[in-house]
């Protein structure tokens, strides 16, 4: 049977979870803009964004907050994008639906918690544990993909 097909129930479950984490990743752009305009202080990342009367060379509260959101966004790129690509390859190896669903769910839930812990600056090791859960899922999918792989 074709793997990337709506007739494949594992692919439908993959669709749901990958879309959720990609939506969350895309939302980080919106949160960046919201935090940028919602924070007090100077805003001088790009010259063309700077309005009149803006002094330079002083890192404002707004920039510090935005940098936190951006690091969180970058962490998503480092983890969510590999998850979606690995998940697609993993679906093509024909896993049973129960183990695939568990893997996709643990990853999705852990990444939502990771974002909450990061954005609200919850003390460690909460964020690290959320990262670790998602990371472990990626490694376990890599292991499953390696079995039918050739070199």
């Amino acid at each position: 049977m074709e793997s990337m097909s709506l007739d494949n129930p594992v692919f439908r479950v993959f669709l749901g979870h990958s879309v959720l984490v990609l939506f969350k990743t895309c939302l980080m752009s919106v949160i960046t803009v919201a935090v940028y305009y919602g924070s007090p202080g100077e805003k001088t990342i790009n010259k063309d964004d700077a309005g009149k009367g803006v002094r330079k060379n002083k890192k404002s509260e707004a920039l510090a907050n935005v940098e936190r959101v951006r690091r969180c966004h970058l962490n998503d790129l480092e983890n969510v994008i590999p998850f979606v690509i690995l998940g697609l390859l993993y679906v093509a190896t024909g896993p049973d639906i129960e183990s695939a669903t568990i893997r996709f769910r643990i990853f999705t839930i852990s990444r939502f918690f990771h974002t909450i812990f990061y954005l609200f600056a919850i003390p460690q090791p909460t964020r690290f544990l959320a990262f670790l859960a998602g990371f472990a899922i990626n490694i376990s999918m890599i292991y499953r993909i390696l079995i039918p792989a050739n070199f």
Copy 2:
């Protein structure tokens, strides 16, 4: 019918547009190097790149220009990579070719404009509007993918 097949006309249109935006994203690396060596001033991002007689701790014109290109590159990673992955999943849901082509075209054109606006520091809101068009396409594909998705 198989979705990721040259027999699928929607997939062929997806191929063309995703290759264009991925090519543009890859080109950012070349532009980074070109701006780096084309700009005057000190170049000290990496110790192993620094030649003799280079003073440290002073941000040069070259580095400022390079950082602009790098932010543009990062913005591509944040938007183009999700587009290509979402587009692949969207093609698998079997959209009609007219609405798929319109989505792919709007995204591709908006990202080329986004890069031009960013690199030449055209005053806002030009760049923001170009970003918004691409972002809206990604969200609309997420919505279409969610319909056949399971959890």
Copy 3:
């Protein structure tokens, strides 16, 4: 024949190489943490990570080392993720297995060398040449994908 299927020998070779480079990319997160805790000095990227007695506004040896690993990680995102996506599309165009295997191998080997050259700060142009090899493979796959593409 279906392209993303274990019956397709080109897809199996793609699986092996893409999993290797994605595994290496995921490992960068672990290396970041290892370098962070293995280096002397102050560690103040995030407020919630800072312990007691940590002074601010002074870039420590630990942070400098971590930033090198992070730039290497970002370079992977810029090159490995496009490779895996382009590779998947390239496999769908039905290349013969010899030329596909050579492309995947050159890319994989060049990226492992790139990481070694970057992390151990081997003098240029070693890292640049490793980057160039991977970049050339991506461009050559873009060229092959463009042939059957529509717009």
